[in-house]
Symmetry: C2
Subunit: 287 residues, 2 copies
């Protein structure tokens, strides 16, 4: 089936959705994005993503191109048009396509933003086989730019990191800077030790995960404490459990770090419980 | 006049040159570029740019999509089709447009690279008014990723840097990391003190400028020594002269750094001499 995608006001077959070679995202990575999960044809944490989108845009001196309700309307129309039950909606906003390439920002009055949304179907998104098996991560240097709190499309290194992980037979990479874990290639990183969840605190160094915020809120419900602080790979390797969170993996158990198995090498009970709570609560609140 | 641009084998009017929204440069900045100057309808340092392009592609595990001669042919055809006398040719190669968004690299067998080239006309490129007046720079933090030797399209921060410079009434920014100047937003940075040219040494921290290499070769001809080492903003501010180099500014005098005028605030004689030698020699060798 050919997807219907959204591009600058039009709903188009995906093969016809094209942008100018002068688009600033294509030429200089000048764009931001969000990914929202869809379960049972409903949007998970939509307002969290809309708020973070606005934050990313503001940080780059771009405006929200439409109201929250209009944005919601497009998301819903894409779910409908593509008969999407489970999967995600990807949204990207760029500073538009001026008539030529220039480091100087174009005037927003004459250069409208590019707005693109498309769906990705993942029938087993919630009931993921990976969540039952857990994933293996390896550590790599974090050499990304310093504003990782802005969800920009500068994803070349995370993509390279994913390939480095695969080359080592792992599923993903945790990035390390100045000796401490920042985050995964497209997710936040956690470990659990003595019934306490440890994860890095918020700053410009990591993405302010929407799922992260929700999971930390739900921790109390799972009778767990939370401590936000820097941690090393070695400390995480000696943990009882570890996991990642993101909009599309929810809570995903990590069973090995740099070849060292955690516990007995299978998903831990607390991560499984957090995943269950997150999915329950998020589906209840889905719109 | 509508430019003729090159896109994946076709010569097209610029308004028709579009790429898929799934292009990896658009979605995750997975592409590299080069800019080659054109003077008197001839290409400056073409082989230097072709070599660096190959280096950037290799670093990202991408292949050169065509031979040096085919690449030269496209450059020349664009010069001809656009009647380009003075200006530049921009070239970008991306990992292509797979059918969907995925951090995992697509298989090059099924996902051909995207190759784009377009011209920019600058009638006064060599005889630039800015070169007579000199430019003012301000310092900003260098928060870019760690592989600046790869000429990737992750240019969001350099573009932001250009805007930060403009906001301060300056022309460009010099980026500073760990107390030392790395480079300008799209150029290498130099100062001259006691007849010696000081510029940062090559590493992953800066772009390996094609014009930089040529200018350092020509320094002897201008009776100057060269020292490649780290330097601070303060040291550059106390210099006799300063300048930048890039493929499109050649040698461009810097007359103020963070509001501090260098010398009498006008372009110095040595930078002017280096510009002259570079232009003479490069035009002689142009193809």
């Amino acid at each position: 089936m050919t997807r219907t995608v959204y591009l600058n006001g039009d709903y188009l077959p995906e093969t016809e959705a094209k942008v100018s070679i002068f688009d600033r995202a294509f030429l200089m990575a000048d764009g931001v994005y969000e990914v929202t999960s869809v379960l049972d044809s409903k949007l998970i944490d939509f307002d969290g993503h809309a708020k973070r989108l606005k934050r990313s845009l503001n940080a780059l001196h771009m405006d929200m191109p439409m109201t929250r309700d209009d944005l919601l309307g497009i998301h819903r129309e894409l779910v409908r048009a593509n008969d999407l039950e489970n999967g995600m909606i990807y949204l990207q906003i760029t500073r538009g396509a001026p008539g030529d390439r220039d480091f100087v920002f174009p005037d927003p009055e004459t250069c409208p933003q590019t707005v693109v949304l498309f769906t990705q179907s993942k029938p087993d998104l919630a009931d993921s086989p990976a969540a039952k098996k857990g994933i293996k991560v390896v550590s790599i240097d974090d050499i990304r730019w310093g504003r990782r709190d802005i969800k920009s499309v500068q994803l070349l290194y995370p993509s390279m990191g994913k390939m480095m992980a695969k080359a080592q037979g792992a599923d993903d990479a945790w990035m390390v800077e100045d000796g401490f874990v920042t985050e995964g290639t497209s997710n936040n990183a956690y470990f659990i030790k003595d019934n306490k969840i440890i994860t890095r605190g918020l700053s410009n160094d990591i993405l302010h995960g929407i799922t992260r915020a929700a999971v930390l809120r739900f921790a109390a419900e799972a009778q767990m404490d939370v401590e936000e602080r820097n941690f090393t790979i070695e400390e995480a390797q000696s943990a009882d459990e570890a996991f990642i969170t993101s909009a599309t993996t929810f809570v995903m158990p990590v069973v090995a770090i740099d070849g060292k198995a955690l516990g007995n090498g299978t998903p831990g009970p607390r991560a499984a419980r957090l995943r269950e709570i997150y999915l329950d609560e998020s589906c209840k609140a889905a719109i």
